[in-house]
């Protein structure tokens, strides 16, 4: 039955985070499964082409195949996912999201964190699935028997993907029309084209497409490379470069979360 009115307690950030994770997983379950499937298929194709060699297994699971044109697709998927997190809630149509009793900035950041955790979980699960498939299809040359570990390549790849996700989030929080997110995300499109060109062995085209905007190792590496060149600080390691870009993009996310529109 009814209770008397009491001081209203604030919701816990953990509760809001789990509510948003549940919200995203329920909404985009099939897309997330597709993303995971793409990663697993990517592993299998790479392994099959290379005859399940130890070199390729090592490259995939310890170095994240960084620099391999196939990994561009994960940059595209991550950027696309950052848009999906906000597709239902573009700026100016977030009244239902913003009427909750949470500070606007905190709420936006919690949703971005929820999206990041979801995509990391999907990629991690797919990566583990790939490892298991190696175990099954590559007898004697398995991932486990090679005492493989998550190497620095993957650390960089995940940071690179996180940067791509943060960049996409800034666009989604700043521009009202989802179409603009995709148009401005042209560099990602070019990356995808570059990847396609590489897959089709059109090296000249890939070089032409990627050299205008992108470092051939993908968008994240391109960011890193730009920063690297911009500062002239050649003593920075690629990991530091990615990390610095992550900090810059995080500030961008905070600033874009603070943009107010008529809701």
């Amino acid at each position: 039955m009814m209770q008397t009115l009491t001081a209203k307690a604030s919701p816990s950030p953990a509760g809001i985070l789990s509510a948003n994770i549940r919200n995203l997983v329920t909404r985009y379950l099939w897309e997330l499964l597709l993303f995971g499937l793409i990663m697993v298929v990517y592993h299998l194709i790479a392994l099959r082409n290379d005859g399940f060699s130890e070199r390729m297994i090592g490259l995939l699971f310890t170095d994240g195949a960084l620099g391999s044109p196939g990994t561009f697709i994960f940059v595209v998927i991550t950027a696309f996912w950052s848009f999906r997190v906000w597709t239902d809630l573009p700026p100016g149509e977030r009244a239902t999201f913003l009427i909750y009793p949470v500070d606007r900035l905190t709420h936006c950041i919690i949703r971005i964190m929820a999206g990041a955790l979801v995509i990391i979980a999907v990629f991690s699960a797919a990566w583990i699935m790939g490892a298991l498939l190696c175990e099954i299809f590559g007898p004697g040359r398995s991932w486990f028997s090679n005492e493989a570990y998550v190497g620095s390549g993957w650390t960089k790849s995940f940071l690179g993907l996180l940067n791509s996700y943060l960049f996409g989030s800034i666009l989604a929080l700043s521009f009202k029309k989802p179409e603009i997110w995709y148009v401005i995300k042209l560099p990602v499109g070019l990356t995808a084209l570059g990847m396609s060109a590489e897959l089709l062995k059109l090296h000249g085209l890939r070089k032409a497409l990627t050299s205008i905007f992108l470092y051939p190792d993908g968008l994240s590496a391109s960011f890193g490379n730009l920063f690297y060149t911009g500062t002239g600080s050649e003593s920075l390691s690629p990991f530091h470069v990615f990390f610095i870009w992550m900090l810059i993009l995080s500030v961008g996310v905070i600033l874009s979360s603070r943009i107010r529109r008529e809701e």
């Binding site: 039955m1 009814m2 209770q3 008397t4 009115l5 009491t6 209203k8 307690a9 604030s10 919701p11 816990s12 509760g15 809001i16 789990s18 509510a19 549940r22 919200n23 329920t26 909404r27 239902d88 809630l89 149509e93 977030r94 009244a95 239902t96 999201f97 913003l98 009427i99 909750y100 009793p101 949470v102 500070d103 606007r104 107010r260 008529e262 809701e263």
Partner: protein
């Protein structure tokens, strides 16, 4: 001389106060110096034609939008600086639908919504769901206007907010559902002493609940007062007057609206009945009857009078 119908309201402990609130949407003026006062525990009906600023006012109180000038307070907290605390104290039924969450099944939507309110009472929510015959398995976007209104009402009430903002709460409801919603609101208000600010075009539907009313026109309050004061002081005078009769100069500010053709005419006038009657007789009119106005009639008279100007 009698003063005009008042547009400011004295309240010792107001739940909502706005002062000189101005809001433009590009070149369109939505609010034009709004001075709203909703006493604590009141059920305040905000009445006005489309575009008079009712929804804009509610959005400012929720800090969904910011005014261009002026200020607002909810329980002495400014929504601009304490938006989260203000929203925690509000149960809101929006005018439209709820973009962003319409893909959800109703059950999932309520579960998601409850995560944001530690005071959410599942038993009370369940009783409302049962009472309002809500199907939890249907997708929100598939619901009719009336069905979505019922779900929004559960979302607004089940965390026991001390303030309800209801934007056209009866819109789309069938007569049976309307009665149920009124009963639910009466129970809620009587057991929690919550304050209610409701906007509506259909005053009669919320007439049972209301104890205060404000009439908005072009972003400004034409009048706001308690039901009792309106009932006591705003009356319809049925008059028989000479052909060239032009009214009493002492009542020029107090006449809210006039209609009819001479010699029979009816005027809605604000003020003490005895004094008004005396002034009318002195000016040469014969007062045939004096009838107090219901809230809806009062609102219509005030708005019609504004259009007559």
């Amino acid at each position: 001389m009698i003063s005009a119908i008042p547009s400011d309201l004295e309240a010792g402990n107001p739940a909502i106060v706005t002062r000189d609130l101005m809001k433009f949407y590009k070149k369109n003026r939505a609010l034009n110096g709004l001075d709203l006062t909703v006493p604590d525990g009141a059920v305040y009906l905000m009445v006005g034609p489309n575009g008079s600023g009712k929804t804009t006012t509610m959005k400012i109180l929720l800090d969904l939008i910011r005014p261009d000038s002026g200020h607002a307070e909810v329980f002495s907290i400014s929504p601009a600086t304490g938006g989260a605390r203000v929203r925690a104290a509000i149960g809101y039924v929006p005018e439209g639908r709820i973009p962003g969450y319409e893909w959800m099944q109703v059950g999932l939507l309520l579960r998601h919504h409850s995560s944001y309110y530690p005071s959410w009472d599942s038993d009370y929510a369940d009783s409302l769901i049962k009472n309002l015959e809500i199907d939890l398995t249907r997708k929100f976007r598939k619901l009719s206007k009336g069905e979505s209104r019922r779900v929004q009402l559960v979302m607004a009430l089940a965390h026991f907010p001390p303030l309800l903002l209801l934007d056209e709460p009866m819109d789309g409801l069938d007569p049976l559902a309307r009665d149920r919603v009124i009963e639910i609101l009466i129970d809620y208000i009587s057991e929690t002493s919550a304050t209610v600010l409701a906007s509506t075009h259909h005053i009669a539907e919320l007439d049972k609940l209301a104890d205060h009313m404000g009439v908005l026109f072009e972003g400004k309050l034409l009048a706001q007062n308690s039901r009792e004061e309106i009932h006591t002081s705003l009356k319809k005078y049925l008059l028989q007057v000479p052909e060239d009769w032009d009214g009493s100069p002492d009542l020029s500010n107090a006449v809210v609206h006039r209609k009819g053709t001479r010699p029979e005419t009816s005027w809605e006038i604000w003020g003490d009945e005895t004094y008004v009657t005396e002034q009318l007789k002195t000016a040469g009119a014969m007062v045939r009857s004096v009838v107090p106005l219901r809230l809806e009639e009062a609102a219509v008279a005030i708005l019609a009078g504004k259009e007559q100007e």
